[in-house]
């Protein structure tokens, strides 16, 4: 039988993972959009794109640290 505490942790990990996947899809779109803009000669989009991607990565890292903290023994 599963430990209820562990079951709640798994649910939290699932939630964090779903959020990371959404952020990752946004990052993929952002990278392809900025690269496409660069190749079309619009270089202004490169820096805002990198800043937004950095923020999304920071959010992913925060969620990952949350997942690691969840499984740390108390």
């Amino acid at each position: 039988m599963e430990n209820p505490q562990r079951s709640r942790s798994v649910t939290a990990v699932d939630g964090a993972m779903a959020l990371i996947i959404i952020l990752l899809i946004t990052q993929v779109w952002l990278l392809s959009a900025t690269l496409n803009a660069l190749l079309a000669g619009h270089r202004d989009a490169a820096i805002p794109g990198a800043i937004a991607s950095g923020l999304l990565f920071a959010a992913c890292l925060t969620l990952y640290r949350f997942v690691v903290r969840l499984e740390r023994p108390k």
């Binding site: 942790s9 990371i20 993929v28 952002l30 990278l31 820096i47 991607s53 990952y64 997942v67």
Partner: protein
């Protein structure tokens, strides 16, 4: 952790299904975070690439003599570097345009169709306007890069690509 109700084989085979699932999810989260880092590095590469492109200088290169090709005719040349194929097209008695020959979709070589007066990519039916290189139809996401020409007497000289700002 071992409990008193656990059978003996549990001690030998200590992997629990729920814990295994938990660990694999944590590992997937780690993998996704590393992929996110990869995307961020990709964006930084785009920034670096945009900075490097600022410093590229295009050489002036003699392409052809005016009147060398007939109206509707085409001459191939390499610009700005060897291996970068471009097309010079004579669209009128005194009108010349030049574009990179590389399709912006998947880099197939485009050709000029005099009959339809457009540039065509045979790979995926991408069509470009001969007037300004814009996409008329098909999958190409961007216009064809245009080579800016300068006329010096009877000589046609390529001076830069169009997305390069004026010096």
């Amino acid at each position: 952790m071992k409990s008193s109700n656990d059978p003996l084989w549990r001690e030998e085979f200590s992997i629990r299904k729920s814990e295994e699932r938990y660990v694999s999810r944590r590992q997937l989260t780690k993998f996704l975070t590393l992929t996110s880092l990869g995307m961020f590095v990709g964006n930084l590469w785009v920034v670096a690439k945009s900075r490097i492109r600022d410093t590229i200088s295009y050489p002036a290169k003699w392409i052809a003599r005016a009147g060398e090709i007939p109206v509707g005719g085409v001459k191939l040349f390499e610009y700005p570097a060897p291996g970068e194929q471009c097309l010079l097209i004579r669209t009128g008695a005194d009108e010349y345009v030049a574009y990179s020959q590389k399709c912006t979709h998947l880099s197939c070589a485009v050709y000029y169709s005099e009959k339809r007066n457009r540039l065509e990519c045979p790979c995926h039916q991408g069509y470009f306007s001969v007037r300004d290189g814009s996409v008329l139809a098909g999958p190409p996401p961007r216009p064809l890069p245009r080579v800016v020409l300068e006329r010096k007497g009877a000589d046609l000289i390529a001076i830069r690509m169009q997305d390069q700002p004026e010096a």
